[in-house]
Chain length 626, copies 2
Amino acid sequence: MEVVYLPKILDVSRSPYAKLRTVSVSSVKVKGFMGKYFETLVNTTLPSQYELLEKTGRLDNFRIVSGKLEGSYKTYFPFDDTDVYKWSEAVSFALASRELPELEKNLNIVIEEIKNAQDEDGYIGTYLSRERKKERWTNLAWNHELYNAGHLIQAAIAYKRVTRKTSLFEVATRFADHIYNTFGPGKKEGAPGHPEVEMALVELFRETGDRKFLELSNYFLSTRGKGLASVPRNPEPEYFIDHKPFVELEEITGHAVRALYLCSGATDLYLETGDEQLWQALNRLWENFVSKKMYITGGTGSRHDWESFGEEYELPNRRSYAESCAAIANFMWNFRMLLATGEGKYSDLMEQILYNGLLAGISLDGKHYFYFNPLEDFGKTRRKKWFDCACCPPNLARFIASFPGYMYTVSDKGIQVHLYEKSSAELLLKDSSVKIEQKTNYPWEGHIYFTIETDIEEPFSIYLRVPSWSSNYSVRIDGNDNPVEMQSGYVELNRCWEGGHTIEFSLKMKPELMETHPLVRDNLGKVAVRKGPVVYCVEQVDNPDFHVWTLTVDSESMREEKCKILDREMVLLKGTGRAIELSEWKGKLYSQLSRTKEIPVLFTLVPYYAWANREPGSMGVWLRKT
Amino acid sequence: MEVVYLPKILDVSRSPYAKLRTVSVSSVKVKGFMGKYFETLVNTTLPSQYELLEKTGRLDNFRIVSGKLEGSYKTYFPFDDTDVYKWSEAVSFALASRELPELEKNLNIVIEEIKNAQDEDGYIGTYLSRERKKERWTNLAWNHELYNAGHLIQAAIAYKRVTRKTSLFEVATRFADHIYNTFGPGKKEGAPGHPEVEMALVELFRETGDRKFLELSNYFLSTRGKGLASVPRNPEPEYFIDHKPFVELEEITGHAVRALYLCSGATDLYLETGDEQLWQALNRLWENFVSKKMYITGGTGSRHDWESFGEEYELPNRRSYAESCAAIANFMWNFRMLLATGEGKYSDLMEQILYNGLLAGISLDGKHYFYFNPLEDFGKTRRKKWFDCACCPPNLARFIASFPGYMYTVSDKGIQVHLYEKSSAELLLKDSSVKIEQKTNYPWEGHIYFTIETDIEEPFSIYLRVPSWSSNYSVRIDGNDNPVEMQSGYVELNRCWEGGHTIEFSLKMKPELMETHPLVRDNLGKVAVRKGPVVYCVEQVDNPDFHVWTLTVDSESMREEKCKILDREMVLLKGTGRAIELSEWKGKLYSQLSRTKEIPVLFTLVPYYAWANREPGSMGVWLRKT
C-alpha cells in the first residue's frame, strides 16, 4: 500500500515544516454527529446540487464552450465554474468514504464536460471564452480566472487521489502550466483578485513534485501589495488585500474569504519553505484575528458592505455577515496552522468553527444554505436553496465530504486526535496499521471511549486534544486511572499499544456563560451560553411567551434535554429566567431611564448551528446579562 | 408690503390643508447658537464651497455644455449639478438675512452659467448632454434627471423669492414645462429614481399658481410601485421605494434620503389636496419611523450597504449610517407634518434632529463634513472637506441659511414659536407687524425671555412649544405668573399684546439618562445622556485615563461646565463614574463570565454635534448602564 495515493486533503508527508502529517479521508469513517451530516450529504445535498448545477446553466457553460451547445454564458458571475469544481471535489472526497455509483457516474460526466471545454493552449474558464476571449488575463481584480484555476486544481487533486483517475488532473495541470507560462518575473506581472490559487498550487507541487508550481504560488503571494490584484478604488485595494505586501500586514482586513484563503495559501507556502518573515506575518494576523475579529461561533467578516472584516472589536450580531465560506476558510487556515505547529489552539478553533458558524451554513435537511449568518435575527433571515453567487453551498459540501481527513494527524511520535466523533479509523503509523474506534455521543457528552488495535510493538504516543472549554478531564487506560499532563493543548499517552487497549477520556462538559471583551460594544452587558464546543441561541419558536431578545437566564437553573429537530438528535438547554414586558414601550423608542418591568419565564435554548430549521422567528446568541 | 414676495422656504399661505403658515426667512435674525452657525456659513462655508464647485469641475460642467469650455463632463456622478443648485439656494436664503456682496456676485455668475447651459427645448442637465444626449429620460432609476430638476426648481424659487430676480426661475420653469410635456398619462410613463422633484413641483405650483405642476408632482408620486423608478434587482425596487404604491406603504424602508424626500413631497401634496389616503400612509410611515427606525440624534438610515433603513429596531451605533442629508430630510418632512397639523411632536423632532444628528454633519470650523454619522467610533472617522458624492455639504449649507424660516409660523389665531434661539423677528399677522425678541442662552439653558411689540389691538395667541424633554415649565407674562395648559405640545397665551409685553418662559433643563426600547439590541444595558434637546457623547480626547466605551456614569454626580471648542461656547457635563480595567482582557476576545474589574474615574461629556472637532479618538453616545 503506497501512502502517497491515499486520498488526503493536503499531502504534507514531504513538507519540511509540517510538524504533523495528514491522514487519508478514506481512513476514517464518521458515524456520529458528523456521520448524520455525511448521510445527508450523499443522499440529499450532492444530488440536489448536481441538479442545480444543471438547472442554473453552470454545466451548460462548459458545453457552450466545447461547442456541444449553442448560446452564450448562461450565468452571471465570472466564477460560476467553481461551483462545478467544488461539487466535483465534494463528490470525490465522498467517494473516499463510500461507493456512490450514481454520484460517481454524474461526476464522470461532469469531468468530461470540463475536459472538453479546455482550450488548446490549456486555458479553461467558461466566462472568458468565445466573444470574451480577448479579455483573458486583462482584469485580474474581478474576473476570477486564477480563483477558478485554484478550485479546478483542488478538485482535480481530490479526484485523482480518490479515484486514481488522471483525466481531470491532466486538465488542471495543463491549465497550471499555462498559468506558469503566462505569469512570473519576466513574464506577465499579476496577482489574483480573489486568492485561492496559492494553496492549490502548493498542493499541486505536493502532488507532482514539480517545484515550478511552488514557485508560482510564491510569486502570486509576493506580488500582492503592488496594485496588481486590485482596482484603485471602489472598493479600496484593502478589499483585495492588495494594499501592502503580505509579510507587512499587521491587521486582518478586507474581504473576509479573500483574506482567509490568502492566509491559508501563505501557510501552505510556509509548510514548504519555512520562510520566517511569512511565519511572523501569519502569527500577527492570526492573533489580530482571533483576539479582535472573530465571532464566538467561529464566523467572521462583520460587514455586509464588501463582505469584509470590520475594524477591531467590530462584531455586530444582527448584521454580522459571517459568510459560510469565511467559516470554512477559517477552518482551513487553522488546520494548516495546526500542521505547522501541532498546537491545540488551532484545533480548538477548528472545533469551535465546526459546531457553530460553519454548520449553521447548511440546513438540517441538507438542501438550504445561509450565505451570511446573523448571530441575532428578527425572523426574516432564512436559508435558501441556492444563490446567484453560489459559492457557499458546494463549499459546505466539500467540507463535509472531507471532514474525516481533519480528525487525526500522525507524526514520528504517534497519532494526534484533534476532533471527537463516533467513528472507526485505520491509520498508518510507521507503515503499520493502527485501528482507532471512538465511541461517544460528542459533542453532547464529553466522554469518549477509544479502542486501539495495532501490531506495532514499539511504544508510541496517542495525543488527545483537551479542549480549552474543558476545566476538568480525566484519562483511564484499560480501566486504570492514568495521571496526565497537558502540553500545547494535548495530553500525550505514550506506551506500547500492541494488541487491544482502551482509553476512556472524560471531559467535564456543562453549560456555562461566556462574555466578550468589553470593547465589543454589541455584547456589552450580554452573555452567551456554551456547552462544550456548542454555542447556544434562543429561538422564538421554542419560547412563544416572551420576546427572546429580552431574555436573561438563571444559569443555575439550566438543565439539558435531548430532542430531535428533523432527524437530528441534539441537546437543548432549559431553565428559568426573566424577560422584559414590552407592552410598556408601545409606540416609544426612547424614554427617560426607568425601572424595566420584568416577568419570570421558562426558556429553551437550541444549538446555534440548528437555528432557523423550524418556524421563522427572532433569534439571539447573546442574551441579556442579569 | 406684499406677503407673497417675502422669501419663505415653503409658501403655504394658500394651501388649503395647512393649519400653519410659514414666515419669511428674512423676518428672523438669529443671534445665538444658530447665529454662530450663520456667521460661519457666510464667512467660511459658502465661500469655500464656491471654490470647491469651481475646483472640482462642477461649474465647468455647465460651461462645457454651453460651449464656453472644451472637454467633457468633469465629475463622476450624474447628479453633480445639484451641488451647484443647493449652493445657489443656500446663498439665496443667506441673502435674505444679510447683504453679502461677494457671495451675491458669485451667485449671479453661477446663475448665468446655469442659464447658458439650458437646451432650446428646456432640458437642463450637464451629465446627459453632448455625447450622452441620446440617453436622456432612458434611465430614470440612476440618471437622477428629475432629482436634478427638483434641486434646480428649489434653488430658482429661493433666488426669486429673495432677490426678486427671475432669471433662474425662468430656467427652472422652462425645464419644468419640458418635464410636464414629457411625462404623464398619455405621454411618457416614469417616476424619479431619487425623489426630490415632488416637493419642488408643489412649491412651483405655489409660486406660479399653475396647477399643472401640482398635477405633475402627484403623477410622479402615484406612479411609484410600478417599476418605473427602479431596476429589477441589485438593488431591489425597495431601495427606490418603488416596491409598492406609496399609499400602501406600511414600513419605512429603502434608501433613507430617497424615502424621506418622498415623504416630504407627499406631505406637500397633502397640504394642497387633503388626500385622506395619502395622509393615512404618511401617518403610518411616521409612526413606524419614529418608533422603530430613528437614532436618538434624529439621524436615520442604519445601513452602510445601500445607505438604507434597516429592519425595525435595527439601530447599530458603530456602523450607523445616519447620512447628514437624511437628518436634513427628516427635518424637512417633520416641518411639513407640522404645517399640516400644528402638533408639537413634529417640532419636537425638528429640535431633536437640529441639535444632534443634523449639525454633527458640519465641523465647527464650517468646512469639514460628515457624510455618515456614527454614534460610536473607534477614532478613525473624521469629517472631510468634500466628497465625490458631495450631496451633504451644500445641503447643510442650505439648511443653515434657511433656518430662520423654520422658527415661527403664523395662523389665524396667532403666532407659533417652534424653536428657541436668541433672535429678533418681525412677523406679519393680519397684515400688521409683531416684533418678537428672544433673549436666551438656548439650548444650554431653558430660560427664554421674550419681548413682544405690536400695534394689533385685538387679542391673539402666542403659542410656545413645550419640549417633550421638559418635565416642568412656567410662564410669566409682564412679570406675573401665568397658569397655562398645554395642548398638542404648545401653551397658548391668548391676550391683547398691543404695545410692549414680556414673556418669561422657563423650561426645567437638567442632564438625564435615556434608555431605548429593549428590542434595540445595541442599546440594551446602555444609557445616553441628554440635557434639554442636546444629546451628549464621551470622547477619548477629554478622557485620556480610560477607554470611553467602558464608561458608566454616576448620574447624581453630573455637573455642568461652560467651555469653548474653537470659537463655540457650549456646556460640558462632568462627573464621577467607573470604567473597565481592560488589561485583564489582553489577547482574549471571549471568556467565561467573571467579575469585571472596574476603576473609579472622572469623566467629561461633550455635545454629540461637536464631536470629532479635536484630536481623533474613540467616541460613544450610549454608555454602559450601571
